[in-house]
Amino acid sequence: MTRPRRDPDLVRAYVVTGGVLRPSRDVGLVTLLVAQDVPAQGLAPEQRRVLGVCSRHGALSIAEIAAHLDLPPSVVTILAAGLMDSGHLAVPTPVADVPDIDVLKEVLRGLRQLV
């Protein structure tokens, strides 16, 4: 599961985020994101890459974006938070404000159909 790496990787991650060390908002590995209809001009190359893998029609999680772009999740978290700040990315809007317990019950119903 692991392989030794040299320190330049850590330096690279710092450079990729434009020197930002922490995400500007509370974004986790399973935060879902959809692209918004906002022009991408003026974005840094790495921000463009994150935006480029996102779609307006279906969400992806931070973890999936990181895996597809081969970037560390910590880096994608910072880049995605910046793109949310600029309005390029957004979390999908729920139809109704469903409590967490009902979300888990929906998972439970789905799992029972797999058995």
């Binding site: 599961m1 590995l29 879902l32 890459r49 999680s61 772009l69 560390p72 119903r109 799992l111």
Partner: protein, 197 residues
């Protein structure tokens, strides 16, 4: 750092607006990756996070711990149920990554701890790591071919499980069997006092 091959990206249906994160924990070789793969609707993906860790031992001259850099890899899968995407994260089992669990556990609602009866003693540190983060969990014995079957009570004793912690068995290669183990976990999560708090 190539670009993503967009034809390989499986976007969620537009109806999905919520996500749930569960950890699939277990010692090395317990079957975590197999389990995630049997439930996932997408080819399991991997993230790699470079971390700096203090290496064992001390530099003689400077008297400072040397730092080495390594990569923590996490395999994960996804399954969509209605408007919800369930994400299963296989957590690295190696002991030296246990300090990373604060980050791994962030946002997770629970953990399924997979155990192999041939290495029950290896599960202690995993169970401690889960408990330390206050994550509700259930235990599933992954029944490997050729492994001796033990009565549940013996396994409970060997793992020192609380009477309230559900214990089940599964075959991580089988989707229905893995789903049953997850049902036990999610039922535990929806019935437990942590949801009422």
């Amino acid at each position: 750092m190539g670009s993503a091959n967009l034809s390989e990206v499986a976007y969620l249906p537009g109806t999905v607006t919520r996500s749930v994160k569960l950890l699939v924990a277990g010692h090395f070789g317990a079957g975590k990756t197999t389990f995630v793969g049997s439930v996932s609707e997408i080819r399991p993906l991997r993230t790699e996070e470079p971390i700096t860790e203090a290496s064992v031992g001390v530099d003689d001259l400077a008297g400072l711990p040397r730092k080495t850099s390594t990569t923590v890899a996490m395999d994960f899968g996804r399954r969509t149920f209605g408007g919800v995407a369930l994400y299963l994260f296989g957590t690295p089992g190696q002991q030296r990554f246990l300090p990373m669990w604060d980050e791994l556990a962030r946002g997770a609602v629970g953990a399924l701890v997979l155990v192999d009866t041939r290495r029950l003693d290896h599960s202690d540190e995993i169970l401690s790591a889960v408990e330390k983060r206050g994550l509700p969990y259930t235990v599933a014995v992954n029944e490997f071919d050729g492994a001796r079957r033990y009565p549940a009570e013996e396994i409970r004793q060997a793992l020192d499980l609380a009477p309230s912690t559900p214990l089940t068995v599964c075959d991580a290669r089988d989707q229905a069997s893995s789903a049953k183990a997850l049902i036990v976990l999610v039922e535990h999560l929806t019935s437990g006092p942590e949801m009422l708090a």
